[in-house]
Subunit: 320 residues, 2 copies
């Protein structure tokens, strides 16, 4: 990756205007990366730097510095460089994709193993826990680290490592965090901003989801079929999965959400060795090893039948 690292540094030095984007359905690593890159470029006195996303910033991430500067509409501007961050495929940028080809150079910085290397420069490190961890080295190289950048990078690493509990969290993750925490970062505030963001009706929705949970005979797969998935003030998917993780011994967690008459959004989470990215890919989706998703044209029961059967076969095969 040394060569890509150098190419990115060179491009930053020689370019004047920058578009920054990330994947749809923004979360901590996408937003943390975007804002860290934005602040890095601003510190290098670059004047034309724009963050433009398909989706608006979720309420719980509005504590991130300069998150108000993030745009969801843009006039026909052109940019020397388009940074696409934390995004395995350019189509995942949604409506921003149209702008990417106008840019002089697409720089793809990511940690997803499924990255399609769609950029002119592809700095992709699948062994990194988060894109923010990759950007840490860039900020370090340019000597721009400050409390705002540290807060953005911390948030990305914190969310993508599941509060430092996922399998890929390593000594290096904590070493970087110990460097970032030399700036005034308040982990309790970040935790509360990200986790204490439900209203009572959200918990009532979760109550309903819990009552619908099903288990396979081996108690390895847990799922729920949601006829009327009503989002509360924010997306409850991750919170529901966190609750499902309380279940001892369960290895795969699946939510089937009816999003249209014959359209089901399927979200997968897994523990340890189980690679749900493979499952999602088989059904035309993608993601990470332990977190992935797909959308399928089917009824809830139809989707359930085909996907649970597939996952059972897959997990059974692993045991042999």
């Amino acid at each position: 990756m040394r060569r890509e690292f150098k190419k990115v540094i060179e491009k930053i030095k020689t370019s004047r205007s920058f578009l920054i984007t990330a994947h749809m359905n923004l979360e901590g690593d996408a937003l943390g990366s975007e804002l860290a890159m934005y602040l890095l470029l601003k510190k290098l006195k670059k004047k034309n730097v724009v963050i433009y996303n398909h989706d608006p910033v979720p309420e719980s991430y509005k504590f991130l510095p300069y998150s108000r500067n993030i745009k969801t509409s843009l006039k026909g501007e052109k940019f020397d460089v388009a940074f696409v961050l934390d995004c395995s495929d350019s189509s995942r940028t949604g409506k921003v994709k149209d702008y990417l080809n106008n840019a002089g150079c697409i720089i793809n910085i990511d940690h997803h193993i499924s990255n399609t290397l769609f950029g002119d420069i592809n700095w992709v490190e699948p062994n990194r826990i988060s894109t923010c961890e990759i950007l840490y080295w860039l900020c370090d190289r340019f000597h721009v680290m400050d409390k705002n950048i540290a807060l953005c990078l911390y948030t990305g690493i914190f969310t993508d490592s599941g509060s430092f509990t996922y399998a890929n969290t390593n000594a290096n993750t904590h070493k970087i965090i110990s460097q970032l925490m030399k700036y005034p970062i308040h982990p309790n505030h970040i935790y509360e901003n990200l986790n204490s963001c439900c209203v009572l009706s959200d918990l009532k929705i979760m109550s309903k989801v819990f009552s619908l949970l099903e288990l396979d005979a081996n108690k390895k797969i847990c799922w729920a079929k949601l006829q009327h998935w009503q989002e509360g003030q924010h997306d409850l998917t991750e919170t529901v999965f966190n609750m499902m993780r309380l279940l001892k011994g369960v290895e795969v967690f699946i939510l089937f959400k009816k999003v249209d008459k014959n359209k089901v959004r399927v979200s997968f989470r897994s523990r340890g060795k189980i690679n749900v990215n493979r499952v999602a890919k088989f059904f035309g989706g993608g993601g990470h090893k332990n977190a992935s998703g797909t959308t399928t044209e089917d009824t809830l029961s139809g989707a359930e039948k085909k996907i649970i059967t597939f996952v059972k076969r897959y997990t059974d095969r692993l045991k042999k």
Copy 2:
């Protein structure tokens, strides 16, 4: 603390038999400290080293190495040194207290600000996030660190820092963790052992509790009245409170559990400045600032009426 550190090192070097204990109601920092100290002494070829506690090791902590060696009964042995770890007062060791005075020297190593300095040597550092963080330096000094000690220390720091999210987590915490993770530690396994201990029926019980949640008009107090509180395979109280903490802005969390015809067990949790120990004390109970409880002779509605009224007045007064 330099002087106490040296005294402890000297005592370890010159003594032959060691008792190790901690507070009742064992959790990660108590057990992690005990086992790290045990392994340190064993590596120094000390032959007579015994961990003896008031309570047995909880199921979820049995993954800790050598946890099977921990005793809950002891014949009239005498020891050169008794280490009391993570324990603010010697009475909190329960039945072990009787043994302490038989020891040649009591060494009190702790991080609680309320520590009563009951030892012959008191190595108390209230600015440390956990006792394991203190013991890290001792293990480092004796060059005994290995994967087992690292796992014990990691677990203590992990639990006492609330998975690195409590306010007192700092750069130093993460620096120590990055050192410990140079050994093969699997944060996902530790997390799962400690947190994934529900069965499906537990989640169904939680679903029921969520459906019963009530809020006061100011949305500062959240509670549930539980007619038939059926415990699952383990006590769900803490898990339910963790879920209630998802609620934004709520400061006090209360569970009313009918335990008998006219007997209600009331559990309180609070955030930040709100001292629910005062509330519990007023109703004849007790506990900590942010976690307390009481039992009252009343119906569910009777207990709810008097306690919610009291808590409302108390939180309103704080705002003035």
